[in-house]
């Protein structure tokens, strides 16, 4: 491989890396080229309500995202 070909490969690689980082930043909505760290969140989740049992009996937690 000639020097010119190697230089072209390095340039292409750098371009691909930059594009991937941009894409990741966009995907995660951070607006940053640094991708946010992946994490798996366990259940149950923290409660957002402590309203009494009388109120909860008439509610249904359909989505299951928050503990209610």
């Amino acid at each position: 491989m000639t020097r010119t070909a190697r230089f072209a490969c390095v340039l292409a690689g750098l371009f691909a890396l930059t594009a991937a980082a941009e894409f990741a930043g966009h995907q995660f909505g951070t607006g940053s080229i640094v991708p946010a760290a992946e994490a798996r969140i366990g259940r149950p989740l923290t409660r957002v309500s402590v309203a009494g049992v009388g109120r909860r009996t008439v509610r249904r937690c359909a989505v299951g995202v928050y503990d209610c």
Binding site: Q27, F28, G29, T30, P35, A36, A37, E38, A39, R40, I41, G42, R43, P44, L45, T46, R47, V48, S49, V50, A51, G52, V53, G54, R55, V58, R59, R60, C61, A62, V63, G64, V65, Y66, D67, C68
Partner: protein, 258 residues
């Protein structure tokens, strides 16, 4: 004699359990302050405030992380609410005009509208339970908040006072069988909630949900209670909206419900 002694012990225990438990002064104060906040909020026709919320989540590796949002809420009774709520992954606007609920996300330029002809209390439940977009400090905005919040409480304490955003607030602490919750109530003639914290004691790492109130006002501060989509926004159904503007950022995945 032995059986008589045992009977005496049982009788004493039964009698003691039937006697009214003495209410400590600090507990009575805490209940009075909570009731004063509840009465104050319930009597207001309009109010608005800025808020910061943080919801802890615990990873399967045991790391506790906080998801932070800020926003503004305006309420006009009996049934008008306007909320803006910005996190790192959604930029939400919610408008309830008494007949319909619109939720919009500026980041994805999507919005959805569903008919909703009920009162504020029903809306609070629906936002939290059906649409998983809880209003900040929703527990405090329901009618007769004090009565409802105290239903399952096992301990009540007046913790003195604290200063939040330069405002001196009474600090109250409550426990029930699953969670602890704390409330800071502004001292003076406008006993609004300064901060509300729920600690899920029965969840590993005891994650918290925290809401801090700023710039409390007894007006709606010019909020619009009708929704006008920005140019380029597209209306979608609620399921599509929930998929495109999720409750958690894409890099956090929820474990499946067991």
């Amino acid at each position: 004699m032995k059986s008589n002694t045992l009977a005496g012990i049982i009788a004493t225990a039964l009698t003691a359990s039937l006697l009214p438990v003495a209410t400590h002064a600090d507990e009575a104060d805490a209940r009075r302050i909570l009731q004063s906040m509840s009465d104050y909020l319930g009597a207001l026709d309009t109010f608005s405030f800025d808020f910061d919320t943080e919801q802890d989540v615990v990873t399967v590796d045991g790391e506790k992380l906080g998801l932070a949002r800020s926003g503004h809420i305006a309420v006009a009774r009996p049934g008008q609410v306007h909320v803006t709520s910005k996190g790192g992954f959604t930029d939400l606007e919610m408008v309830f005009d008494g007949g319909g609920l619109t939720v919009a996300d500026a980041d994805t330029a999507l919005y959805t509208t569903v008919p909703f002809e009920d009162d504020l209390a029903a809306l609070i439940d629906a936002l939290r339970d059906t649409y998983a977009r809880p209003l900040p400090a929703a527990d405090l905005l329901i009618p007769n908040a004090a009565e409802t919040l105290l239903e399952e409480v096992t301990e009540v304490k007046d913790m003195g006072s604290g200063v939040i955003g330069g405002i001196e607030c009474d600090h109250l602490a409550f426990r029930n069988f699953q969670a602890d919750w704390q409330l800071w109530v502004a001292q003076g003639d406008t006993p609004y909630p300064c901060r509300f914290v729920i600690t899920s004691r029965d969840v590993a790492q005891a994650p918290q949900y925290r809401v801090t109130v700023r710039d409390w006002r007894e007006t709606t501060d010019g909020a619009a209670f009708s929704f006008t989509p920005d140019d380029g926004m597209m209306e979608v159904d609620m399921d599509t909206f929930a998929l495109k503007a999720p409750n958690f950022p894409a890099h956090l995945t929820l474990e499946a419900i067991q």
